[in-house]
């Protein structure tokens, strides 16, 4: 497995960073650093050995998804990145398009897939098309621009975009890997996941997974924003603590962090030593799509949570009754808490409304919104109590 690796290749693929290396996006530089994409037999096994999990948010073991695919299916690279605070997919498509393309080609080859798609945000279309033109082996990849919509990144919405052009989440009787785009077995994989596959195809799963911790191997991209001096994207090995992840961005004194994005969870400053990982196992905070929003101690977390809830309510795809009716009601309740409405029943009403929308939509949008709101009530419990007594700690 390791016969093709050279010391250079090892440095380019096995260290940290390995995705956000400094070199430019051209195919020449890509080949100089990594060499050509080897046609590796047994890639699916290598991915299983690597322990790679999806980097799009659901953190599903990639090998499980691959194993569910039938031959002659569809592989879709998903770089649509609906979360406004996520920047990693765009950065990756601008800086390492060839690594993503390698991952897509290698996956499609390993699965004997018939159709290859790359769905990207509008800003990434040009760099991706340029990269595809640079190489001769990627003509089969069809590029589609995703609408800039929060729920547009959902796997079923991406499939709907390719099938109908609308990009709305669908209720799926069976998994996409069983019946997806035009009835074919379909794999939707985040572009960061594909980039990692591009590396695994070269060095094998074992060596790729040498970095990180057993429960979260390899590296992961994080988009960091909020009350920080240097927002941006960083790459970190699995098992990193929340504190170490946000440190390079020079945060203000931290009051809380929203981990995982708008569908993520707020954690207070007491959680800074916890690791951020693929799942909540081993006490880790789930990374979701790798979004970290830092809240400085001069901001009101309830205000921020209310604004996000209102945004999410407006981003409902407008298809499902409980989502269409429940999310605005939920956002309204949260903003009343933030506004200092002293009705003592409010927190319980927020809780009830969160429970009423949860699990009652075709996609996870209501669930994610409920989760974010619930975690805010816990992380900002002191603020809720303060608001109920008529003052706000942030408004000093």
């Amino acid at each position: 497995m390791s016969s093709t690796s050279t010391p250079d290749l090892a440095r380019a693929t096995l260290g940290v960073p390995r995705l956000l290396t400094g070199h430019g996006p051209g195919y020449g530089e890509h080949l100089r650093a990594l060499g050509p994409l080897p046609q590796r037999a047994g890639l699916v096994d290598e991915i299983a050995r690597s322990g790679l999990t999806g980097r799009g948010g659901a953190a599903f073991p990639t090998s499980t998804k691959l194993a569910a695919m039938a031959p002659r299916g569809v592989v879709i690279g998903n770089g649509s990145e609906g979360e406004p605070l996520s920047a990693k997919d765009e950065l990756l498509l601008h800086n390492r398009p060839h690594l993503v393309i390698d991952g897509l080609l290698a996956t499609a080859h390993a699965l004997a897939a018939r159709r290859l798609h790359l769905v990207v945000g509008a800003a990434s279309e040009e760099p991706v098309r340029r990269a595809l033109r640079e190489r001769g082996d990627a003509d089969a990849i069809e590029v589609t621009v995703a609408p800039d919509r929060f729920v547009g990144g959902e796997a079923s919405a991406v499939v709907d975009l390719l099938a109908t052009g609308r990009g709305l989440p669908k209720d799926h009787a069976v998994r996409l890997t069983t019946r997806g785009l035009r009835g074919r077995s379909t794999l939707v994989q985040n572009v960061e996941t594909l980039a990692h596959i591009g590396l695994i195809a070269r060095v094998g799963g074992e060596r790729w997974g040498a970095v990180g911790v057993p429960e979260d191997r390899g590296t992961r991209l994080f988009s960091i924003s909020g009350d920080v001096a240097h927002p941006g994207v960083i790459e970190a090995p699995g098992g990193s603590s929340l504190r170490s992840l946000i440190a390079p961005s020079s945060p203000q004194p931290v009051s809380a962090v929203l981990v995982g994005g708008y569908h993520g969870a707020w954690v207070g400053r007491d959680a800074l030593e916890r690791t951020v990982g693929a799942s909540s196992k081993h006490g880790a905070i789930p990374a979701g799509a790798g979004i970290l929003v830092v809240l400085g101690d001069r901001s009101c977390g309830l205000r921020t949570a209310a604004e996000i809830a209102a945004y999410l309510a407006a981003e409902s795809a407008g298809q499902c009754g409980p989502c269409v009716n429940g999310l605005p009601a939920l956002a309204d309740l949260v903003s009343r808490v933030a506004d200092g409405d002293r009705d003592p029943r409010l927190p319980a009403q927020v809780e009830r409304m969160a429970g009423l929308v949860e699990g009652r939509g075709a996609c996870h949008h209501p669930d994610g919104t409920a989760k974010m709101v619930r975690s805010a009530l816990v992380a900002f419990a002191d603020d809720v109590a303060a608001h109920q007594h008529g003052f706000c700690r942030a408004a000093r």
Partner: protein
């Protein structure tokens, strides 16, 4: 004997008008999502479906009896292809249009799960066209179509269906309409 076919044709026509009217009203009530006094919502739906299917049966009786009635001079083709009948082509033609629409509505309703909701819904809208055409057919083609009792019956059913359609267009029509936002689609 031939008199009997004519009488049967006429009687089945009147019954058809009544069945189709009740079916329209129950269909509208189904769409509103409201129960009917003691009859639950699914009861309203089942009643709508069964009465609608019964009207298809009576349509069969109506057509067969008039085909067998020598005075009507009706050919099979006139039953399905409108406006070609030897006698009263317009009046008979309206009946043929109504029959075609009714079969389309009935067949798409029965095959709803196979055809999908969109096809079903679009074709089902034809009921709003089919009902007035059928009524007009009754008034123009019926041998007693312009007799006082039939005109009174027509006016009565038209008022009922008309009122229901007006209700359909108000805010109060769908249950919960005023407290919820309907998803777009």
């Amino acid at each position: 004997m031939t008199e009997a076919f004519w009488a049967l044709g006429r009687a089945s026509g009147v019954v058809l008008l009544l069945l189709m009217t009740v079916s329209m009203l129950l269909g509208l009530l189904t769409r509103s999502g409201r129960p009917l006094v003691r009859l639950p919502r699914f009861g309203v739906l089942l009643a709508h479906r069964n009465i609608a299917l019964l009207s298809v049966v009576f349509l069969g009786v109506h057509v067969v009896s008039l085909l067998l009635d020598p005075y009507a001079q009706l050919k099979l083709i006139d039953v399905v292809v409108p406006f070609g009948a030897a006698r009263a082509p317009i009046a008979v033609g309206l009946g043929a249009v109504a029959l075609d629409l009714m079969l389309a509505v009935a067949i798409t309703a029965l095959l709803r799960r196979r055809l999908g909701h969109r096809v079903f819904r679009v074709v089902h809208w034809a009921a709003y066209v089919l009902w007035p055409i059928a009524l007009l057919h009754g008034v123009t083609a019926g041998s007693d179509g312009r007799s006082l009792p039939f005109l009174a019956l027509s006016a009565f059913t038209a008022t009922a269906v008309g009122a229901a359609v007006v209700w359909r267009m108000t805010d109060h029509f769908v249950e919960y309409r005023r407290i919820r936002t309907e998803p777009a689609r």
